[in-house]
């Protein structure tokens, strides 16, 4: 197998694993379909915006949970926002972590919230690494002169 085919195979396998393991869902593939010659960096840009969002919101949640008297509605509104963002980009594990988080906000359970915050933090860090790996593979394929295969 030549270099390009090998890289393409790797890309397909890696992408498939991301879906299989629930890191991303169909929403992510919708985003990939929107990328074309007129906006070749669309997915990378959207994903960057998403991770900026994550960082900011996680910080806000942490700050809110540090308060003497925690304003759970405030925490919940940050989680709600993150849930919306993660849902839009197809970051399904992050989204699920947010769903669980909200129940603890509703129950006004600080310990539970802190655990969820850790979970959310973890999920988004892992996803960030995975997607960076995916983008690196894409760049390698392009550098080798190949095209990025569509993964159904």
């Amino acid at each position: 197998m030549d270099v390009i085919s090998q890289l393409q195979r790797q890309f397909i396998d890696y992408t498939s694993s991301l879906y299989r393991e629930g890191y991303v869902d169909d929403q992510f593939s919708q985003l990939q379909k929107l990328q074309d010659e007129s906006n070749p960096d669309f997915v990378v840009e959207v994903v960057s915006l998403f991770f900026d969002d994550c960082q900011k919101l996680v910080q806000n949640m942490a700050q809110a949970l540090e308060q003497q008297n925690v304003d759970f509605r405030q925490v919940d509104s940050h989680v709600h926002q993150l849930k919306g963002s993660s849902s839009s980009v197809g970051a399904s594990r992050v989204k699920n972590a947010c769903i669980a988080f909200r129940t603890f906000c509703e129950a006004q359970n600080r310990e539970g919230c802190l655990r969820c915050l850790q979970q959310v933090n973890q999920e988004y860090s892992v996803l960030k690494n995975k997607l960076q790996q995916l983008f690196r593979l894409e760049q390698q394929i392009i550098a080798a002169g190949g095209s990025i295969p569509m993964v159904e």
């Binding site: 929403q27 919708q30 985003l31 929107l34 074309d36 906006n39 669309f42 840009e45 959207v46 915006l49 998403f50 969002d53 709600h80 926002q81 849930k83 919306g84 963002s85 849902s87 839009s88 980009v89």
Partner: protein, 158 residues
């Protein structure tokens, strides 16, 4: 009332004002109102891919200000939860100004009562976020195309 024969040729002439002279594709304009830059980016791209010219507003107030300054759009996608002026207030404001543009409410996870309040504010339609499903948007485009043909209403059958 006269009903002209609905040939494709006459339809094409009637929608000329929205037509792109180069591609002959009907181009509609959409205003995307959302405080989240991620959503603005995703929705803009989706709509562009379906042939829309898009503009964004970061809050209900920005949307209202655009209209006050004389801007007009074929369709507005209005988020509900925004700071400064939310979607419900903005929709009410626009309708109060006499704006008849099609307004589609878009939001994530609102309660039944919130959705109802949003619709009552003057929405034509409500969709849950995210709006990446072309199947939801294509009927809207068809609707806009039909609107731009002056002869609306059911055809008389002889």
């Amino acid at each position: 009332m006269e009903f002209e024969e609905d040939s494709t040729a006459s339809k094409r002439m009637k929608i000329a004002e929205n037509e792109d002279p180069i591609t002959n594709k009907v181009q509609f304009s959409a205003l995307i109102v959302d405080d989240d830059p991620l959503i603005r980016k995703i929705h803009s791209e989706v709509l562009k891919s379906l042939g829309f010219q898009t503009q964004v507003a970061k809050s209900g107030k920005e949307a209202v200000d655009l209209y006050r300054a004389g801007a007009n759009f074929d369709i507005v996608f209005m988020d509900m939860q925004m700071p400064v002026m939310n979607g419900i207030e903005a929709t009410k404001e626009l309708r109060g100004m006499g704006v008849s543009t099609k307004i589609v409410g878009v939001s994530s996870e609102c309660s039944e009562s919130e959705i109802e309040a949003f619709i009552l504010a003057g929405l034509d339609l409500y969709y849950a976020k995210p709006l990446t499903d072309a199947n939801k948007i294509i009927p809207l485009i068809e609707d806009l195309k039909n609107k731009s043909v002056p002869n609306e209403g059911p055809k008389k059958t002889m």
